[in-house]
Symmetry: D2
Subunit: 290 residues, 4 copies
């Protein structure tokens, strides 16, 4: 066989299996998205279209990889939870990490024009990915709490910051200075007093991030989250369930026959913008942490 | 700080530095490209447009990451050589592997319409990536020989296989059967006798794959590769140097200030379809293996 | 600083932290102990002195490393369970693995003469060690069940095998042949019919292996294991608690101040030869898997 | 098979192969040897017997593991170089690291009484080990230069420090204070002026450390190191070749049939206390870095 005298170089490819029996969290982040969002003139502090595109790409990834049971997105990052029993690609780290990053990126670019029909992509964006292992459900709960708390902190800051700049006429330097050292309650107050904005009435997507959860359809529907009372602090916790779009349905790519685990329980991916720090969300979905 | 009680989950992110002083080979492969090429009706055995799109994406990656000095592509795979002194992303494996895979994927989707203006992308393609470390230049030479020998073997097989099917009217089953057990010289002969094709006159891109090499411009030009004599077996070894396209030049994304190593030596990325198994290519470019 | 121009070589020492929040099992095995036991004329099938020496070395390791809460030994191997919260040596794999192996080896050689006063060590024995991570208590239970089941299988086989050889006058080849394909119940029967031995009356040390467990003294004593009824199958389950020997007490080496976790709860290392597959052992010691 | 339902726990043992084609340096260090040397009343600044015991254990390791071609020891540490082609234990990191550490420890304890007949071991000493990979011979040269430079720095400091204490009657605190900020030449001068000691006439073992090198016997003997001129700075560079002691020869343990690489070239392990920073040592032994 020609080439066989060179084939020894394959021996340098070392195995990289992930420890069995652990939850996998795959997180990706936009690469240089500060510049990317500026060049593509994303609305500040939040660009709904850009966030919906992130959600779309994340949903595509979940449609493709059935072992992902939950995802959480904010800004230019997304975290995915793979069930601890997953044997996706024999749990090879590089394979999983690179493939998921690649597919998300591909979906992002592919769907761009649906969300920005008048603003063509100026150059190819990229993301970096990593996998973190967690041994127990406690850490998974805390991981997602960490991300959602981060969303809250960032969004509160950005909301008041951009109000100061866009409506208050401050320079960005002055706006940062005005916020230095302020605690959460002060920011709420500034926002309300200066700009008449009740932070808790802001779109839950911005305050809570995006949750994509694989719910089991055959089971009785998960208990409703608390009915939002107007102007209450839970205003954003409405469950915004979106069915698979027609566009997505038309091209189911890359079927993973082997990883279609349980063919019996029909599942459905729901998009929510609710609290995932408290127990409610998780109590309603015991299968997520099984 | 809100969220700080959850921040301990970061401790589960373990370091993954690659051994210093080793060459990095980053290889990516199309994910399920058999189906992808069928659905997008790629020409068999080789689709020039598809290969040029691969080359374009690979060149973009090299423009962006200056520590890549060489790349070799065939079919739906591409290998990249990073200099052994590279400190890209502090040599963190997941970061490098996922980012390069992501950027290549993004470029591939981004440029698709330039190469397939009449065949829109039906769904988002993806790639998987991996990094392999090699301690010495000997192994790097052998790695690239391994890939080019593979190109040769596959292309010779595919060329005669598709001739049997497309021109010979054989079924794919019969074509495989006809080729079973044949050696290289027999395939050459079948090709010539049955279809009047001299394998060595076939486009060098198909026979040799694509080589993207970062050449040093200020230095005297690398010694010319042997002048191809007509219809000789080296017919494909012409150096097809392509300058950066205007389209690419207009949007240099994601500048890597830190990784711009030596600002003095101007370099240029050349696309070749020449032999990289023999010494000639390497002797002319000692900087590649430094 | 002289030498500083060489100090860069330290950068090649890569970090090797073990995933937090997981149980560590450290297992060591005698290296070439088949030959070692032959040359030192160990009694077959079990040499009590050799086993007690193993237990002694294992106990020394537990005295030294307070994060080890349990150990199980059979033949020339020993497994140690480190609590999942351990931060011993910052969970660096090589450091933990090599140090524990080294200390066990050192204790084994150091105490040799106490167990073999008339048979000096002919050459230095060695052991190899490895660390395996387990995410949950279920797997820890199964790990120790696996080792104890292995002890049972091996000991039953060896007991009848050596009876055939030593008392039955068979060659080792014939003895192996006689046992080929026999199941457990047949071995019990052969042993009883041919040699009048009730397997269940054999020393529990041989049948169950050695369990070293760090029990909490201040707490009410762990519920007694079932009272052994004479000649019953649980005859070996007596709790053989051994206090620290005077010899050991005289030289407490290498105190690990930092790893002395909770100074309040006094603990005591007990040596048992009881069942650890069923729930009883574990139910009585919930602290082991916390 | 009993136990088979537990055997899945083996799947948690992950592979840990070391990159092929790289040099392996295995380094071990005494664990808490400050205390160990105090309790066993080692002579300060250097205890010849203790150093010779280290050398003996290191030589045993080299006798046992033929792929070790070089070792360097100082104080309570020893570094071993394994040839880059070694396939010892299939290059499994934990296996190699733990076994070598274990065997060294075992030899150290085993031979203790030969070096300290009147000072019995008070408790079992231990060592930790680690493996570092180096891609090229340049880094190996620099690694050993780093260790020998370290030996020089430490020994010069310790020599003058203990002279100040033992002969100068200073407290250790005062001695440290007297040396603070002094450079090498000042230390030489203090030593000569205050105590009449020419540092370069001190035993080369202390100044240069111990080099154990596997020399090829069949080849013409390695070129002689420069003849030491009396009282010159190279006084310590004499080659002290020690043949295998009778004691060692009587019990060749643990034969590694598989790792006995080339049976033709007879080799001999020589103990030297010479310079290994300059080229001479290496030029005479090209096989070390092949």
């Amino acid at each position: 066989m020609a080439g066989s005298k060179y084939a020894y170089v394959r021996n340098f490819e070392l195995p990289d299996p992930l420890l069995p029996g652990t939850f996998l969290v795959f997180r990706l982040d936009g690469h240089s998205f500060h510049r990317f969002s500026t060049e593509h003139q994303f609305t500040k502090p939040n660009d709904v279209q850009a966030l919906m595109l992130m959600d779309h790409a994340a949903r595509d990834v979940m449609e493709e990889y059935k072992d992902i049971v939950l995802a959480f997105g904010e800004s230019d990052e997304y975290s995915f939870l793979l069930r601890k029993s997953t044997s996706l690609y024999n749990r090879r780290e590089s394979k999983i990490c690179s493939t998921l990053t690649s597919y998300f990126t591909s979906c992002y670019v592919f769907h761009w024009k649906e969300y920005f029909p008048d603003s063509p992509l100026l150059y190819p964006p990229s993301f970096d990915g990593r996998i973190v292992l967690y041994p127990s459900s406690r850490e998974i709960r805390d991981y997602f709490s960490w991300r959602q708390a981060d969303t809250h902190i960032n969004n509160l800051y950005n909301t008041i910051f951009w109000a100061l700049v866009q409506q208050g006429g401050k320079t960005t330097t002055d706006a940062h200075a005005a916020l230095r050292g302020t605690v959460s309650s002060q920011k709420h107050e500034m926002l309300f007093k200066s700009f008449g904005v009740n932070y808790n009435e802001i779109d839950a997507r911005f305050r809570k991030g995006s949750i994509l959860v694989r719910d089991i359809e055959d089971e009785p529907a998960p208990p409703e989250l608390p009915e939002p009372t107007p102007a209450s602090s839970t205003a954003g916790d409405q469950s915004i369930s979106e069915s698979t779009s027609a566009a997505e349905a038309s091209h189911k790519p890359l079927k993973q026959k082997k990883n279609k685990a349980q063919p019996k329980a029909k599942t459905k991916i729901n998009l929510l913008h609710c609290d995932i720090i408290k127990d409610e969300f998780w109590d309603a979905r015991p299968h997520l942490l099984e």
